[in-house]
């Protein structure tokens, strides 16, 4: 077959050549950087990276540090609550908008708006709103309800939920627009068919519409989960990790170890643990989304 189909490799030659610098950079920076980090997490690097092997020492230290354990616990609490609530809120908002309300564009913009803000702004705004001296608590008390108390950021037991509120406020809009796009992609005639079959709206959502939106759900899930794992700036702006270490998160631990405590090895070990977490989420998704598509046709 000398004059068969030309090799895939040499198609679109100029486009491929043009992409080479970017591919090299990406490989070098991402893959190279990642490998480097993992390698150095097994060393005794302090202020500067040094190839002095200490085996799993850094990891042992990491998992016996209270602050790291609290960080993980916070991430789990924040992550699970965020995941469930952001999906529920986002989907309900999208479903409401999809029911053809008035001023749809206005409502959509208002709800999506927080997403356009940086986490630092969100964090500061909610720090003020939740501040007992001039936020919600003082306003409600000012209205006459003297005993009203709502100061989550000053209570170590529930401070992470104060962060959660801010995170939800910022994240729900994105989930809503993604869900709305998914809902809009559902053929109106399917809805009509379901009505003729006598299926109530909630059942239509659960058994027909949501299964049809699977790709949107998976994409949203990945966005939300990665957003949760890398949460850092919101914490820094809103609580600074406090009170005490009650709102510490892994990304902040990494940053503080590397650039404040001059303990690169610890930071590398912690970030390797985070990479592992993300990989645990992304790899199954990629297999589901891309690997399975061949047999699904």
């Amino acid at each position: 077959m000398s004059n068969g189909r030309p090799s895939q490799l040499f198609r679109n030659k100029s486009a491929k050549i043009a992409a080479i610098p970017m591919i090299v950079t990406a490989l070098f920076v991402f893959v190279g950087g990642t490998a480097w980090t993992v390698v150095y997490s097994f060393t005794k690097s302090g202020l500067l990276p040094r190839l002095k092997w200490v085996g799993l020492d850094q990891y042992e230290r990491l998992w016996s540090t209270n602050r790291w354990l609290v960080s993980i616990e916070n991430l789990i609490i924040y992550g699970l609550c965020m995941l469930v609530l952001v999906f529920v809120i986002g989907f309900i908002l999208a479903a409401l908008i999809d029911q053809k309300i008035r001023f749809e564009n206005t409502v959509r913009t208002i709800i999506l708006y927080p997403y356009a803000l940086s986490f630092v702004v969100t964090g500061l705004v909610w720090q003020w709103i939740l501040n007992p001296d001039f936020g919600i608590q003082s306003i409600v008390q000012g209205l006459g309800w003297e005993s009203f108390a709502f100061d989550p950021l000053y209570n170590a037991d529930i401070a992470i939920f104060g962060v959660l509120i801010a995170g939800l406020w910022q994240g729900s809009g994105l989930v809503m627009v993604l869900m709305l796009a998914g809902l809009r992609g559902v053929d109106q005639e399917v809805w009509k068919a379901a009505r003729i079959d006598g299926i109530p709206a909630w059942k239509t959502y659960i058994f027909i519409v949501i299964p049809m939106m699977r790709p949107v759900f998976i994409t949203t899930l990945v966005l939300v989960v990665t957003g949760i794992v890398k949460i850092y700036d919101l914490i820094v702006a809103q609580t600074g990790g406090g009170p005490g270490v009650s709102t510490e998160v892994p990304a902040k631990y990494v940053y503080d170890m590397m650039f404040r405590a001059n303990n690169l090895g610890q930071g590398f070990a912690a970030s390797t643990m985070m990479l592992l977490t993300v990989a645990l989420v992304v790899i199954p998704w990629a297999i589901l989304e891309f690997g399975g598509s061949k047999n699904r046709g």
Partner: protein
């Protein structure tokens, strides 16, 4: 009570847009009614009103003698088939057929029985375990029909069910729908803008325009005695030739031609002298040996030839007006040649120039 569906003074508005206006329609039991009209004339809207998917602005809808104007779609005793099939994509064919029944809490054996019967009728038994994505367009539409079938209802509504299929499949499925109607003897209301579908399937056709029914009649009536110029031009392909002239006594005068209208059935007696449009279908113009018997004969020059295989269309001019003639596909004609043609007034239609109504 012989009517399956009755529509009384139906109005429907979207905001300030009046889509249906004072529409009345009675559909007999077991009748196959086709709603035919150009895009945007309100066919789907009317069907959705009957199905209960749209709230009517005024008027009433009765199905099987019950006033269902404000009933839920599922309680009206109807099944509906959509253009886009509207199958539930994540369920198997069987799931699609059974979902509504399960939801209505029908006994399992009953559901199984109905699915069995419907899938036999539609020959989709081998497909029951597949998902819609693994079916061809024709198979999907069959499943969609099956979903209406298992509801065990008296009235079927079809909204352009064959529009998404290719020509061959469309013809096949058309025959199948006709056979289905003969076997089931259900009432069927069928929306289409394909006139061949309308002519072949319908017991009666309702021609719609601008939210109103222009003419309601058998395919023969619609084709042979169109009630106005719009219907005349809409039905038939290639479409009717129209000649603008005057009627004087029993003669239609057109340019320097005078066509005797003897044998034409006037609706209200012949008018004495008025501006009139004569409509004659290309297939009713005779050529060759048949010309000798025609009451009116003339010569035309062949301008353009469109062979279609089964027949050949000839474009020419009759006293300055474009005119088309349909000839047999075997006929030999060439451009520029003079062709003798004959018209038979009894097969023609006359319309008032102003009102466009049939005379």
């Amino acid at each position: 009570m012989n009517n399956s569906v009755e529509i009384k003074n139906l109005d429907l508005e979207f905001g300030s847009v009046k889509v249906l206006q004072n529409l009345n329609l009675e559909i007999g039991k077991g009748e196959f009614l086709v709603l035919l009209g150009s895009s945007g004339c309100g066919k789907s809207t009317l069907l959705n009103c009957i199905a209960g998917l749209l709230d009517v602005t005024a008027g009433q809808i009765h199905i099987n003698g019950n006033n269902v104007t404000w009933s839920e779609p599922s309680e009206r005793g109807i099944g509906m088939v959509f253009q886009s099939y509207a199958l539930y994509p994540q369920m198997t064919v069987e799931g699609n057929l059974s979902f509504g029944l399960k939801n209505a809490k029908l006994p399992k054996t009953e559901i199984a029985q109905r699915i069995k019967r419907a899938s036999e009728v539609l020959q989709i038994e081998p497909l029951l375990k597949r998902k819609p994505a693994a079916l061809s367009g024709g198979q999907r539409q069959r499943v969609a029909i099956g979903r209406a079938l298992v509801r065990d209802v008296d009235v079927f509504l079809f909204d352009e069910p064959l529009s998404n299929l290719d020509a061959k499949l469309r013809a096949d499925l058309r025959v199948e729908i006709k056979r289905l109607h003969q076997n089931l003897e259900n009432t069927m209301i069928y929306v289409t803008h394909d006139q061949i579908e309308a002519m072949t399937l319908a017991d009666r056709i309702a021609i719609m325009r601008g939210g109103q029914i222009m003419q309601l009649g058998t395919p023969d009536e619609i084709y042979g005695q169109p009630i106005n110029k719009y219907v005349a031009g809409f039905i038939g392909s290639p479409s009717m030739n129209f000649l603008d002239g005057r009627i004087k006594g029993r003669e239609f005068e057109f340019g320097d031609l005078s066509i005797p209208m003897t044998g034409y059935n006037f609706v209200n007696g012949s008018p004495t002298d008025s501006e009139t449009t004569l409509g004659i279908r290309p297939e009713h113009v005779v050529t060759g040996e048949l010309v000798g018997n025609a009451p009116f004969q003339t010569d035309v020059t062949v301008g353009l030839i469109e062979p279609t295989g089964s027949d050949t269309l000839v474009d020419c001019e009759l006293a300055g007006t474009p005119f088309r003639v349909r000839m047999d596909g075997q006929a030999k004609v060439s451009v520029g040649e003079t062709l003798r043609i004959g018209l038979n007034p009894s097969r023609a239609s006359l319309f008032d120039k102003q009102t466009e109504l049939r005379l």
